[in-house]
């Protein structure tokens, strides 16, 4: 069962970028690139040699492996619907958040290693936005812990909510915040534009400017994995509210992120960079609000 769980997550990770591209193309009235184009791109990267900057050290060459390793281990904590994850223990939500932080820190340092002012710019933004989004993520986990009475992912979504409309609302709101966190963490609009051509306004992309070949492939794959892990959490929250089965959660995570990111990227412009902090702090405020709503409902349930 745990194996099926991991396979589903990997499949989700591979499908989400394809669906985003498809949605975007359709909304723009284009035919669009083929669904598996991103896989071909990565295969191409894996066949290439490498160019390294003379400024860089061994840290620069290690960072992509650390990033991919942390994203992969973090993925092992995530349940798909009612399937148990590979690793599960009390407090694994913390391990998940800090593994992602380790990957982020590695990439930030790698960007600083090149000595390029553009990459420093991206690194500084990534560090700030990553720090500001952390409380939102933790508060959302806190909300789920409050509803379920557990502190591990496997039991977090088991709030027994299917028969209680009030809890369904909180779960859906938590899923909304998690989706917003997906936007931020995987470097998507309105925080970051992966298709921009101006280095001055990039965040995630500019940090990998000096990477190529296998290293770049690692970074791309780890972005998919991280996106899949977070969107699966959002999908799990929705599934817990509606129908907590894996065959609901898995397609839902692809659809949820694929469609929402695709639609937002087709209809919205990227934030001005100074607006980004406001945007992320709003997510945190929203998470706090949802926690408080959950708290009030919790009190109410206690009285009955």
């Amino acid at each position: 069962m745990a194996l099926l769980n991991t396979l589903l997550l990997l499949l989700t990770a591979l499908c989400i970028p394809g669906l985003i591209n498809r949605t975007r193309a359709r909304l723009a009235g284009r035919k669009g690139i083929r669904f598996a184009q991103h896989l071909h791109d990565v295969r191409l990267l894996l066949r290439k040699g490498a160019v390294y900057s003379t400024t860089t050290t061994v840290l620069f060459r290690t960072a992509p492996s650390v990033l991919l390793g942390t994203s992969f281990v973090a993925l092992l904590f995530i349940p798909v619907g009612d399937l148990p994850p590979v690793l599960s223990f009390d407090g694994d939500v913390v391990a998940f958040a800090y593994l992602l932080a380790l990957g982020r820190g590695a990439l930030i340092l790698a960007a600083m290693d090149t000595g390029s002012s553009f990459e420093g710019m991206g690194a500084s933004r990534e560090a700030l936005y990553g720090a500001l989004v952390e409380p939102a993520l933790m508060l959302t986990f806190g909300t789920l812990a409050l509803l379920s009475g557990h502190t591990s992912f496997a039991a977090l979504f088991d709030a027994g909510a299917a028969d209680d409309t009030k809890l369904i609302i909180v779960l859906l709101l938590a899923a909304y915040v998690l989706t917003k966190i997906v936007f931020t963490e995987s470097g998507r609009l309105p925080v970051d534009d992966p298709r921009t051509h101006l280095e001055l306004t990039m965040i995630h992309e500019v940090m990998c400017l000096d990477y190529c070949g296998v290293d770049l492939a690692y970074i791309k794959i780890s972005t998919w994995l991280k996106g899949a892990a977070l969107s699966m959490l959002a999908a799990d929250a929705v599934a817990a509210a509606l129908c907590p089965r894996w065959w609901v959660a898995a397609p839902l995570s692809v659809l949820l992120t694929g469609l929402s990111v695709g639609i937002v990227e087709s209809t919205q412009a990227r934030n001005k960079l100074i607006r980004n902090t406001t945007f992320i702090l709003t997510i945190t405020a929203l998470a706090a609000l949802i926690f408080f709503t959950g708290y009030l409902l919790h009190l109410n349930i206690g009285i009955q």
């Binding site: 390029s116 500084s124 500001l132």
Partner: protein
């Protein structure tokens, strides 16, 4: 008797160090410290393994109605921490001070090493004392020794200023402690921490708790009493900064732990827990935000110490709340997290300050904007610094992660079990933000100092330090790795020490925490394995392919130079723009104007000063100075005047006693 023995011992240390030749003084100090550390560690490990603690000294008739000292598991934990930190510091000072020995007089060097040795024994005395006069005695001895240690470079004006500020603030804290102990003695007839428990049960506990919290918080660097830390650490030699930041401020934490434990199960424990939690949150956030804005290696590290004290207080607060509401798991996680984080912080902060010392001694600067690219010139220092950086950011698989995991577990369980929902949620969000900003502060530090290209000539010619200093750094490194990779073992020792606060049997504690800890240890090894596998795959894929080296991609701009690298100031500019109200910003020179299309040469310097620092230079300081000036008129320097004052005093006492006033 204790004091006579202590004085004899002091004389012995002074004679031993002053009589040895200049180059060998460090080894005398090392032997003296090492022997004490060995004795203390063996004893402490015995106590932590389950031996019954026995009295180290017991004086029935002294000032505060008897005085004794013993090593219980909590003292034992701190004794281990003090021993490791002190031995490493003395060892490190050999290489760090060797080039200054010629400039200083032998007496000066001897005084430094005497103070270093005395500092170790004084700290040991503080954590072994049961309270009362010997506690205050060792506390004061520790303050004086650390004051002398800061003064090593006394000819520099900022050093003497910082040392004086430190001495004054420590004595304000000392007065608070004296007030607390005198009050305790007046009510209970004794002034030990045990008596504190009975005091709290009979009298209103909160005022005395606050007095002790402020007194100990001054040493620990608790907000808003932290202002001495960022001044004293950059002024002190690096091994002293390491000792003070890694070890000495922990004695303040020790005092707060004892005071909180003395509250027992009283209802006021909840209020105390809330106070500690709020103080922890404010201290942690203040420390980390200010740390991220600093542009000096040692100031940044000093603020990060404040941040970590905040995390420890937050954990203690949640432990107190958990105990007050009868939630064993929350209390256990909180107190174990607080103790383990205290231990962990002593490891990585010692290592980081040693790293800062290496940077300073090889490049003669600690300014972030003058450094850069050091990892090529100092590979081992850079690797050690990177490990400590990851550990202090609480990243897996290192020790900081384990202690923060415990604290998070306490907070999450406080929410999940519904015992302290709102307080836990506040702690949870704050700790997450502190963690995230710590990553920002330390990637800034490591990135600008060790990565990229050197920003000055001196930095470009830096070389690796001697092996002895690296060996001294390996000592805390061992601690970081052991706790990170064998968390169950480390936490077992810590939960035994937690017995002073919580009467959970250690096997029950092990049963409660072991699934999480075993998994955390597993993750550490698993992560290493996965990353190693990926590196091997990468290596295999690249084998036989063309690997080219070239300049960093300049995005089409061909005239890039080293000065264009992202600086520390620009790295934290985003944070600066949202947290601007916390600091007082100063700018010298003129930045490039918006209208200048082809700018001329500009020179400007920005600084961010702590707003709390202004509290200590506000109007009332001037008032105090004026009052002081009036009082100074009495100091005429003539003996006959002084005799007159003494006579007037006696007459006053006489009159007052006749009138039955005293």
């Amino acid at each position: 008797m204790l004091f006579i023995y202590t004085l004899l011992f002091l004389v012995l240390v002074v004679v031993a160090i002053f009589s040895t030749p200049l180059r060998a003084k460090v080894w005398t100090a090392f032997t003296l410290t090492g022997l004490g550390a060995l004795w203390a560690s063996i004893r402490a490990i015995g106590v932590l393994a389950g031996a019954t603690p026995e009295k180290l000294w017991d004086l029935p008739e002294t000032l505060f109605g008897g005085d004794s000292g013993s090593m219980d598991p909590l003292s034992a934990l701190f004794a281990v921490l003090i021993s490791i930190g002190s031995v490493a510091s003395v060892l490190y000072s050999r290489g760090y001070l060797s080039h200054t020995l010629r400039e200083k007089s032998p007496a000066h060097v001897s005084l430094h090493y005497t103070a270093l040795t005395v500092m170790f024994y004084a700290m040991l005395g503080v954590v072994c004392s049961d309270g009362g006069i010997s506690f205050l005695f060792f506390w004061e001895l520790m303050t004086v020794a650390s004051f002398l240690l800061i003064l090593y470079d006394a000819q520099r004006r900022e050093v003497s200023r910082a040392a004086l500020a430190y001495l004054i603030m420590m004595h304000v804290g000392f007065v608070l402690l004296v007030v607390g102990f005198v009050r305790l003695d007046a009510v209970c007839g004794r002034a030990t921490f045990d008596a504190l428990g009975s005091y709290f049960q009979t009298k209103a506990p909160l005022p005395l708790f606050v007095v002790f919290l402020a007194g100990f918080g001054m040493k620990a660097g608790m907000f808003p009493l932290h202002v001495w830390l960022p001044e004293a650490h950059p002024a002190a030699p690096s091994h002293v900064s390491a000792l003070m930041s890694g070890v000495m401020i922990k004695t303040g934490i020790y005092g707060i732990l004892r005071t909180t434990a003395a509250l027992g199960d009283l209802p006021v424990l909840r209020t105390a827990g809330l106070i500690l939690l709020v103080l922890g949150i404010v201290t942690g956030l203040w420390g980390v935000i200010l740390a991220a804005m600093q542009n000096d290696v040692k100031r940044l590290l000093a603020y990060s110490s404040i941040e970590n004290v905040g995390i420890i207080l937050l954990a203690l607060g949640i432990a107190a709340l958990g105990k007050a509401s009868g939630n064993q798991l929350v209390a256990l996680c909180g107190i174990a997290g607080a103790l383990l984080h205290t231990l962990n912080h002593s490891f990585f902060k010692t290592l980081l300050f040693f790293g800062a010392g290496n940077i300073l001694s090889q490049t003669h600067t600690t300014s972030l904007d003058a450094l850069g690219g050091l990892s090529r010139h100092m590979p081992l220092t850079s690797l050690l610094f990177l490990t400590a950086t990851a550990a202090i950011c609480a990243l897996p698989p290192l020790n900081g992660f384990i202690s923060e995991l415990l604290i998070y577990l306490g907070l999450l369980d406080g929410i999940a079990s519904g015992s302290d929902i709102l307080a836990s949620a506040a702690g949870l969000a704050s700790l997450a933000l502190i963690g995230g900003l710590a990553v920002l502060a330390f990637t800034k530090l490591y990135g600008t100092v060790f990565l990229g290209s050197p920003r000055s000539h001196e930095v470009a010619e830096a070389s690796e330090v001697d092996n002895l200093r690296l060996a001294a750094m390996a000592l805390p490194l061992t601690g970081i790795l052991v706790v990170g990779f064998f968390p169950r073992m480390a936490v077992a020792g810590v939960t035994r020490a937690a017995g002073f606060f919580l009467r959970t049997p250690s096997d029950a504690a092990d049963w409660l925490l072991s699934p999480t800890l075993a998994a955390a240890g597993g993750i550490a090894w698993g992560l290493i394995a996965v990353v190693a596998l990926l590196l091997w795959l990468r290596h295999r894929t690249l084998r036989g392919r063309r690997i080219v080296e070239g300049p960093t991609w300049g995005c089409g701009f061909t005239a890039t130079n080293i000065r264009m690298q992202y600086t520390g100031e620009s790295f934290s500019e985003g944070l600066q723009s949202i947290a601007t109200s916390l600091t007082q910003n100063s700018g010298e020179g003129s930045p490039v104007g918006k209208g200048e299309i082809f700018p001329d040469a500009h020179r400007f310097d920005v600084g961010h000063r702590d707003r709390i620092g202004r509290l200590f230079s506000a109007w009332w300081v001037e008032l105090l100075r004026l009052i002081n000036q009036r009082v100074m008129r009495l100091r005429t320097g003539k003996i006959n005047h002084y005799v007159l004052f003494a006579l007037a005093f006696l007459v006053l006492v006489f009159l007052l006693s006749i009138l039955n006033v005293i």
